[in-house]
């Protein structure tokens, strides 16, 4: 059966980037469709009626929604190369735990760091740095969270790096100064072609956030 793969996405979305990286790691050909989130396509609404959100992976007409679920699906269906999850059940459980942790903490704290002001913003920055420091501890001496190669947790977290210039400029803090190891890991990931071609330039994301802030009236 021919594999028809489409990805409904929005270029600055870190969640979309996760799926892009997974598809690239597996060498899968697919059609990329950038959505206008203020004017969602009928296809998006039909494929994700529950959340109406991107990313949506469409494989032979069937939708898989939620970025980490799509990454696991890609890993399980195309299981002949570049495994993202480890083969050992305990290591898999750890990978799932840390991807879940990153999902809950990084996005939320990161978002609060550019959408809030004053005390709330300071609290968000503190949470964000604490979260990255815990992840640095988890990484330890390994080159990647996945060990010698890019794995599930790396794919889950590295997309947020493309938002760091935005977080730093609007949050007025220096992430590299606080978490040099985390930045070193992110740059190491960017040496991989799958990551480099999936993440937009930090400055492009910064411009996007600048426009968003104006629209949201956060100035």
């Amino acid at each position: 059966m021919a594999n028809e793969v489409t990805l409904l996405d929005f270029w600055p979305s870190p969640f979309g980037m996760r799926v892009r990286i997974a598809l690239a790691e597996k060498g899968i050909q697919y059609e990329y469709k950038d959505e206008d989130l203020r004017n969602k396509s009928p296809l998006l609404l039909q494929m994700n009626p529950v959340h109406k959100k991107i990313p949506v992976l469409i494989h032979n007409g069937k939708p898989v929604c939620e970025s980490l679920i799509a990454v696991q699906y890609i890993d399980e269906f195309w299981n002949n190369k570049s495994p993202l999850l480890p083969s050992d059940p305990y290591q898999r459980a750890q990978a799932r735990f840390w991807a879940d942790y990153a999902d809950k903490k990084i996005y939320d704290a990161g978002r609060r760091s550019w959408t809030t002001k004053g005390e709330e913003q300071e609290a968000a920055k503190k949470d964000f740095i604490e979260c990255l420091k815990l992840l640095e501890q988890q990484l330890g001496d390994k080159p990647y969270f996945g060990g010698d190669n890019l794995g599930y947790v790396d794919v889950a977290i590295v997309p947020f790096y493309s938002w760091f210039e935005a977080y730093e400029k609007f949050g007025n803090f220096n992430i590299e100064a606080e978490c040099p190891k985390f930045i070193a890991w992110a740059k190491r990931c960017l040496q991989k072609e799958s990551v480099a071609k999936s993440l937009p330039d930090q400055h492009k994301v910064y411009d996007f956030v600048l426009q968003m802030r104006k629209k949201l009236g956060v100035e």
Binding site: V50, E66, Y90, A93
Partner: protein, 225 residues
């Protein structure tokens, strides 16, 4: 190869999240030692095993900790053979995970808000949000057989048990109403199959004990200012 030695579960009687872990272990026929934790006086073992969240359940297998109820269920499924919990094909696995995420992220947080937020307006808002989420669940989810994915209790049945058993008790205790089998006949029918399963029955805490516990909790919130 999996061994049945040294399997411990740190739990709290009455917790729907602990019940998920117990259900997975029992479905696989795994022998384990249950260690009852106190929520107000957490053991060193718990704090050491789950330093990030400090919560139950924690599964300890040969002294290695696994945390987060649904992560534990997947681990149990992958470690012990017999009674597969997740479906075998990737698409149905994705569906099971999708709906379990929906329950965790969209259904339960508003239910907890409706039950225990100290502010009455917030409780009313929580109930509204819970109703919206349950409406979507009932509308979009498709049950393929007796249980979500066929003839045996699987991943989503385990994840949804919190709605089938705990939500009716919590809403009675906190005097709100968002879910009933009558209101959502599809969910109601599915819930009956799950609640009637003998292994499921074996992990359910007694209703009257839970009801008293949740009533006391609601009263303490309503009475404090």
């Amino acid at each position: 190869m999996a061994t049945n030695q040294q399997v411990k579960l740190l739990g709290f009687a009455g917790s729907p999240f602990v019940a998920r872990a117990e259900l997975a272990l029992k479905l696989k026929g795994v022998q384990y030692e249950y260690i009852q934790e106190s929520l107000t006086n957490k053991s060193d073992l718990l704090l050491k095993s789950n330093p990030v969240h400090k919560k139950v359940p924690v599964l300890l297998h040969n002294n290695q900790p696994i945390c987060e109820s649904l992560v534990i269920v997947e681990y149990v499924d992958e470690t012990w053979t017999g009674h597969p919990i997740l479906p075998s094909d990737p698409y149905h696995r994705a569906l099971s995970r999708f709906w379990s995420r929906f329950i965790e992220d969209q259904v339960m947080p508003p239910v907890f808000k409706a039950a225990w937020n100290p502010n009455k307006q917030e409780r009313v808002k929580g109930a509204e949000e819970a109703r919206e989420a349950l409406k979507i669940l009932d509308k979009e989810l498709k049950v393929n057989g007796k249980f979500f994915n066929g003839d045996s209790v699987g991943f989503l049945d385990i994840a949804a048990l919190i709605i089938f058993y705990w939500v009716p008790i919590i809403q009675e205790a906190s005097e709100f109403n968002v879910y009933s089998g009558d209101k959502y006949p599809k969910l109601g029918k599915w819930s009956q199959e799950v609640l009637n399963d003998p292994v499921v029955k074996g992990v359910l805490p007694p209703r009257d004990v839970l009801l008293s516990f949740f009533k006391a909790r609601f009263q303490s919130i309503v009475n404090s200012k």
